[in-house]
Symmetry: C2
Subunit: 198 residues, 2 copies
């Protein structure tokens, strides 16, 4: 057990803290291999202290996935509230998605591993698909407005752009040389203008 875990393990651990430890365990050992008993051991809490905050292991997963999905959905809603050209709204979502990913790295990592084997996972997959469809529609709108090149299929553009965003979870580590704003700038530079010098 690390110092952080020992410090966190004291009784009085709050809902957010329990969830953070659960998310780490899900990523490290896999969701199926993680039990409430293991989490209780890690947290230095009784199982009933965990159940006081979360009705089940699945409720922990649902809460974690909701943090990731809720963050992304909030960015989409923000972009709609901003209004303006579709291209600007797309750029806003791409930038916001990088921030959500960096701020909620573990939760997004978990989301990207979900395959839809349970009701909670199927619900998360459904929300991911709705996000993707909304972004495909936005790419199409920007193409129709002449702001985004129309010679690439909107679905492929959307998949490749958000694939690039999602790939950040593979290597990004908090406290590294690249902060989220700089990373979002770099990603927008590549996505919108490409790497070719002019």
């Amino acid at each position: 057990m690390t110092d952080v875990e020992q410090r966190r393990g004291r009784p009085g651990y709050d809902r957010a803290g329990i969830l953070a430890v659960a998310v780490s365990a899900f990523i490290e050992h896999g969701y199926d291999a993680t039990s409430i008993a293991m989490l209780a051991e890690r947290l230095g809490l009784s199982k009933s202290a965990i159940y006081h905050h979360f009705a089940s292991k699945e409720a922990l997963l649902a809460a974690a996935l909701d943090q990731a999905l809720g963050g992304l959905e909030a960015v989409v809603i923000e972009s709609e509230a901003l209004g303006g050209p579709a291209e600007d709204r797309l750029a806003h979502v791409l930038r916001g998605a990088v921030h959500v990913l960096v701020d909620r790295l573990s939760e997004v990592t978990l989301l990207l591993r979900v395959r839809g084997n349970t009701d909670v996972e199927r619900d998360a997959v459904r929300r991911r698909r709705a996000f993707d469809r909304a972004m495909q529609a936005l790419v199409r709108e920007a193409q129709d407005a002449g702001a985004v090149r129309a010679d690439v299929d909107a679905r492929i553009v959307e998949r490749l752009l958000f694939g690039m965003v999602n790939s950040i979870v593979e290597w990004y580590r908090p406290g590294g040389p690249e902060d989220a704003s700089r990373l979002a700038d770099d990603l927008l530079t590549i996505a919108l203008d490409g790497i070719r010098a002019r």
Copy 2:
């Protein structure tokens, strides 16, 4: 058992066929949860018939990872043999990587899940890192030549570009509307010129 598995399961199954079934099982159940006994069952072969071709489960993993890595490394060597401007060599590798990924989808999927827990996995991680470093050097060379914009860090450019390539394993399914060459064209369009219309 599916029809394909039954057909494949006849005695006389060759090395490549055994490997393909093993890779599917590793992806479906995880490497740790897959045993030689399970593979023998799936193939309708004895365990010793498998051992005739592969000394161990780890040898199966090593062969699968080598197909993915060997494909990518061959593309790099090809690009060096082509010579010419760094930008063209980078485009060649990006295009070739899309083809390797589409042709060896399962093996690359397995490669992207490897975390370096065994000697075989550590060797694969080492080869992936060597590939990434070679690509970072190529981006830098293209920047020095003035062909690639220099206002984005070469390491970040490399990670985002190949992150976009790797993300294809998440959604690409053989026989879909997008063939590998078209997909490679689309990816190069986005990577080099961006999606903004001019």
